[in-house]
Symmetry: C2
Subunit: 121 residues, 2 copies
DNA sequence: GCCATATTTCTACAAATACAGAAATACAGG
DNA sequence: CCTGTATTTCTGTATTTGTAGAAATATGGC
């Protein structure tokens, strides 16, 4: 019989916390919109100035949002001279989608999870 | 050619806001755990006392979290005498999953979205 | 080294959120 | 109607979050 060790539980709750933080990072219209724009521009991504042009929010606010998205691993950054280019982190998004799918559907036993595994890049 | 009217844009941003609120509602470990428990118990759901027994948080705090989840449409409530029974709102979760899938994958053109439509109940 | 541009950090503040003890409400049963 | 149990609302506080102006930093070109 499979025993659930204290470490298992700790890991599981740490994982839960991580996903909660990711959901939280997507929990405002501004940041969700940023992600949308980056996904639309994927895999090239966008530099901050391009995002700013679309979003009509002050640079400092935008920077703050980008920092949060970066901190939760939802976007990646690379420098191009003076510019910083942000791209959506498809791996993280795939993980999040997979988690949601597993929680929502696997436990519900409506669709087998295999179908999701190939999702995203 | 399809023109994008002002109303289209307003609707789209209202929708975005709604999904952002949903993500926000799942943006803490406590509420994500509540959803997990409800999904595990789906379709029966759980009464508040059962949730309280699992979660080890004060009733008032739990009630507050449940209220937020209810407000964002992620759970449904029904009264059973003295008890209130909460269930996961699979329709809302399916919509959220579909949104995330569409944003993450359709734009990315990796997997066709048809595969998701039958997901959840 | 200096200048111009891109982006972030600093700082501050208002608003939202998490939390929880205590009181209030809702219901079932006697 | 009174009692006990279930759950929420009330209340207050501490923390986090969103926002943004101003200053600072980073980079490339002259």
């Amino acid at each position: 019989m499979a025993t659930t060790t204290k470490r298992d539980t700790a890991e599981r709750s740490a994982e839960l916390e991580r996903y909660a933080d990711m959901f939280s990072a997507m929990g405002t219209a501004a940041r969700l919109r940023i992600l949308q724009l980056l996904l639309t521009a994927h895999p090239d991504g966008l530099v901050v100035g391009e995002l700013a042009a679309e979003l009509d929010i002050p640079n400092s606010t935008l920077s703050h949002h980008l920092d949060k998205l970066k901190h939760e691993g939802l976007v990646l950054v690379s420098r191009e001279g003076t510019f910083l280019r942000y791209t959506a982190n498809t791996e993280a998004l795939q993980a999040l989608l997979g988690f949601l799918y597993a929680e929502c559907c696997t436990r519900n036993k409506v669709v087998e999870p295999k179908r999701m595994l190939a999702c995203c890049k």
